[in-house]
Amino acid sequence: MDLSFSPEYEAFRKEVAGILAANAHLAPTPDDRGMKNPTRQAWQKLLIENGLAARTIPTEYGGYGAEPDILKSRIIAEEFARTGLPRAMSNQGISMLVPTLLELGTPEQKAAYIRPTLYGEMIWCQGYSEPGAGSDLAALRTAAVSDGDDYIINGSKIWTSTARQADMIFCLVRTDPDAKKHHGISYILFPMDTPGIEVRPLVDMTGAANFNEVFFTDVRVPKSGIVFAENKGWQVANATLTHERGMLGDPNATKARLVELVELMKRETVNGERLIDNPLLRDRLLKLQGEVYAMQANGLRITTHSLKKESAGLAGLVVKLMGCELNHEIARLAIDALGELGVMYEEGGHLRANGAWQARYMYDLGLIIGGGTAQIQKNIIAERGLGLPREPKLAKA
């Protein structure tokens, strides 16, 4: 067990810190809104050129071309956290589409899409879930019917974030309605300004429209948008889903929330007593602190497995379930501790943290449900982690 970094890495940390310090004045501010804001694009370009973004993407596609190194990635993340400077762009195009194209895209697709995506010049959205296909994603029914060199697409998608801003969509469609459900799906790319696409914002319980619905009516798209091969979309999507899962349950983000909660409980009073002096609230706080420590240590363990290119096993499989729940519980304690003021929302004089605790409490519940519900996660832990049998097949009704 050694949690220190070798001299090589400490030198790298200094280098990163130096780059950030030298360029801090160029960083976008909260006023630089919009996904294609020029200041943000310039910052992204600067980060890529200095190896602080798109680090392991080959130079021929616009990346920095470094060897993968988990510790260096971690040091970069830590330096951004320490300085508070805005991190590299993160969106579904960069995190999900680019790795997929690198692995399975045609030379034309790689050439056309990777560079502008990395540089924030091309925004993507993901067309996977449908109203009737959530946990059971393979039941999707959006149909792509062959018509010469094109498909004609009809159907709809849901949970599509950034659909309103997106230039392009990577989308799962059914190209063979007669095949078994996993075998008739294709993964296809097409522009969001193709005629016949309608985007409707999907308001959620937080009051914001964090997602959208997308409707396709006779949308004609060229077959050249297929990635890998027709009817092989399920394999392509699975490669991408692996990339998504890693995004949830970052223990350092959880730790930051806990620290915020501790500060809140030291600062706020009820009946003249600090919240942290209330034995019931304090006990819950310490319980959560224990869980945060556990998830942080678990995260270090996973990093070490990754460094050794080993599977992290159960330690990895439990992260989404436990991490999302822990975030939700931290928000719940904040709300309970604030009492009558914990239910304030959106605006007004007694609001704390701009309503963020309630927003998180609700959004986290969405995360517990989304990306594989807690029930699906438990199936995965039991089946892949503990070797228990899969749900048995049902008799035909």
Binding site: S129, G134, M205, V343, M362, I369, L394
Partner: protein, 349 residues
Amino acid sequence: MEFALSEDQRMLQDSLNGFLKDAAPLDTIRKIATVDEAAGAALASGLDGLGLAGLHVPEAQGGLGLGLLDACVVQEALGNAIAPSRFLATTVTAHAMRHAGEDFLPGIASGDIRMGLALTELSSRRDGAGVTMQKDKVSGKSLLAVSAVGSTHLLAADVDGRLHVVETPGLSVMQTIDRTRIFSEVQYDGDTSAMALTPDDEVLAAARLLVAADTLGAAQAMLDKAVAYAAERQQFGRVIGSFQAVKHMCAEMAARLEPSRALVWHAAHAVDTGEPEGLVMATLAKAHLAEAGTFIARTATEVHGGMGFTDLVGLHYWFKRIGVNRQLFGSPEQCRLDAARLQGWLQTA
């Protein structure tokens, strides 16, 4: 020996449920939540027409002379439909005036006097809130006042636990997660107390009990919606309600909610009949329903999957009503502490 709602109580609840089904469907609740004043006024006037204002006012003062159990039956129906209503404030005030309200009760029963409640500081004082009383004058501020908007008078608690009736002073809206009801901050600048009532544990217990009944109704609605969704939604070629995990989530909700219903009834009946344990039961009912409600609000949302998280099915209006009820008139922890005090379990030191 009969532990059940009476025929009259069942009819009252059925007719109110029927009225609310027509008068307060989700579309109407949505309008009210986006501050469509006309929609709110129409529902309020419809509810007024049912004569609920006088339900807990003695017959001698022009009311129906019904008890807290009847009031809980009404409040459960209001919670089930997450309908806004002055009923809770009116009923609690009538209870506070049960020994000395001849001057006010007829006006309350007739609807000429419209009450709001500013009792939050009985359980917790935050952000400098707190009301003091000197020479018949009331000063200070109170948070999260209930039904204060549109009221003529408030029932207000001072820092010594006394209750006062004052003409409604200046208000500012406090925006909560729950848009089915409007809460207010009240600022008193030496307003005259029209009536002072002695400290009285029963008033707070009655207010808490009604909130428990409101949560009971709202949680039942969420459970019903979850069961209906589970029985209809298909994934992996079968309805999700046939998966043991979903089935058990529904069973756990029912297992917690069903005894809670009996608890609310029993507590109300016990207060109505002056049973010694009545106040403890009412206070614990508030805490118990707060916990069961939180569990059901979350679990019912989970059963709905992503749909529960969206605004499309509107489930979140119930979720948020239950969320505010949890804190209203005292957190569950505060209620349990008060219940210990009521039983003489706290150190006298």
